[in-house]
Amino acid sequence: MASKPADIGALKELARHFRRDILETIAGAGSGHPGGSLSELEILITLYYYRMNHKPDRPDWPLRDRFILSKGHACPAAYVVLANRGYFPKEELKTFRKLGSRLQGHIYTAIPGVEHNTGSLGQGLSVANGIALGARIQNLHFNTYCLLGDGEIQEGSIWEAAMTASHHRIDNICAILDYNKVQENGPVSEIKNEEPLLDKWRAFGWHAIEVDGHDFSELIGALDEFDTIKGKPTLIIANTIKGKGVSFMEGQAKWHGKAPNKDELETALKELGF
């Protein structure tokens, strides 16, 4: 449940700063995944600053809402949000992908607030279903959110999980698709077309909504709508732009998994107003 009305301007300013943190974190590591981190950022901010019930000082609070980042390679954005939200020292972002660091190259539970290690695509939705079904059995009242990648849903296991959620009427789960339309080697539509996506998810028994995934008001509206849906799972298709906010990264497959060099970082930060 949202505790207070959202200050959209403040959220936008967070996004601008977090884009800098993401780029600096990846540049510092010399490798990582900027494209998907920049496309999913507004979704994560909406969840962690507006939507989810959680306590950064008590990451194991039993009634916290759960978040599963199924597209585990896009962890830089999640690490940045968790650090800024107070789950762990922001200073530690500098250790991303380094030997001995808690900040593994794909999202990792040594970081407080991270629920599940992922990295091999197509697994998170089943895990999220299990948490949500388990919560029902245990009579625990919280929501489970799962962020999927658009390349990721080419994995057949996602559709196994989609059937499980609707068959068991799991309505305390909300999956969000970061639909940036570009995967590692090119456009999703050229590699393995997924459209019509809304129809597909609806045919699988989900309440499916489509929003602009960089528009906080639309994301908030969709998440509020999820709250009202009973008896079926909810999927939010968030239309996003891969590499959002950095002109030379936007829509470019080559920025799926590549770190900016010093000059590129400088250009990007300038574009973001730093």
Binding site: R66, G119, S120, Q123, V127, G134, A135, L140, A161, H168
Partner: protein, 316 residues
């Protein structure tokens, strides 16, 4: 001479007992609860039973999620489908995350019989025992299965347990000790040790009877926990008997024989022979016919023992 009972029956009975004792036990099935005997649980505790359909990856992933809210999920299907089809889910969502999930694979080995090669899982030890954090168990009879099912439920961490299809001879006693990771000596002996698991323990005991007439004194060990393998028991046997034969209803590559060889070669090298399926798929047939065809019988073990003892004596 022995009572005969399928280990899967004992599993199903014990799972139901556990379900009645502990509300945190949940059972997930890949639409094979009739065969795995998870249906005993389903009939009496339907609210904690989920048939997730024919979707092994989802089965394992959902089980991992359930364990994250304090439940103890038993994910049950055929060994062949769970360990092969859902392998990456076992690797990442269960083992890498150290989830308290019990993966139950039934119908392993050639003794599945008429269903043939696709159902006869012969590679589960090889691919499960290379996964960090995973415990791998294969009880040899119905009595041991009851103890093992309880032991893995109490154990905190991911477990893979293998079940057989046909009735196995009931050899162990209620009073026998069962500790995960600790092998049981079934018969004392000083000339050679047979380290076996599952149904092959029975074949090994019969091989030992055959060889008693040839004045060969065979030690027989039941290695019910494939991982962590009981290093101490292996090293002790190598040192005390000087020769080892392994026996398993599994591929020779990567199975119990390999696990034993990894310990023997690094600690106390002695001649070894392995009784196992040698790089081949199974086929349809009756269990006993298949054991003969794939050289998994007591007579095959006896022959391997004669051979390993010759090698041992040559070494002086």
């Amino acid at each position: 001479m022995y009572d005969m009972k399928p280990t899967r029956d004992a599993f199903g009975e014990t799972l139901l007992e556990l379900g009645k004792e502990n509300n945190n036990i949940v059972v997930l099935s890949g639409d094979l609860e009739d065969a795995t005997r998870a249906e005993y649980f389903k009939k009496e505790i339907p609210e904690r039973f989920f048939n997730l359909g024919i979707a092994e990856q989802d089965l394992i992933g959902t089980a991992a999620g359930m364990s994250m809210v304090g439940l103890i999920p038993f994910a049950c299907s055929f060994a062949a489908f769970l360990t092969n089809r859902a392998y990456d889910f076992m690797r990442v969502s269960v083992c890498y995350n150290r989830r308290n999930v019990k993966i139950i694979g039934s119908h392993a080995g050639v003794t599945v019989g008429p269903d043939g090669a696709t159902a006869q899982c012969l590679e589960d030890f090889a691919i499960t025992r290379v996964l960090p954090n995973l415990t791998v168990v294969y009880p040899m009879d119905a009595i041991e299965m009851k103890k093992a099912t309880r032991a893995i439920a109490e154990f905190e961490g991911p477990v893979y347990m293998r079940l057989g299809r046909p009735p196995f001879p009931v050899i162990t006693k209620d009073s026998d000790e069962f500790i995960l990771g600790k092998a049981n000596v079934m018969r004392a002996g000083k000339d050679v040790t047979v380290i076996a698991c599952g149904l092959m323990v029975h074949e090994a005991l019969q091989a030992s009877d055959i060889l008693a007439g040839e004045d060969i004194d065979v030690r027989v060990i039941n290695m019910h926990t494939i991982k962590p393998v009981d290093r101490e028991a292996i090293i002790k046997s190598a040192e005390e008997t000087g020769a080892i034969v392994t026996a398993e209803e599994h591929q020779m590559a990567g199975g119990l024989g390999s696990a034993v060889a990894e310990v023997v070669t690094r600690n106390s090298p002695v001649p070894m022979e392995m009784i196992a399926v040698n790089d081949s798929f199974g086929e349809s047939g009756e269990p006993e016919e298949l054991l003969k065809k794939y050289h998994l019988k007591d007579s095959d073990i006896a022959e391997a023992i004669r051979k390993v003892i010759k090698r041992k004596l040559r070494r002086g």
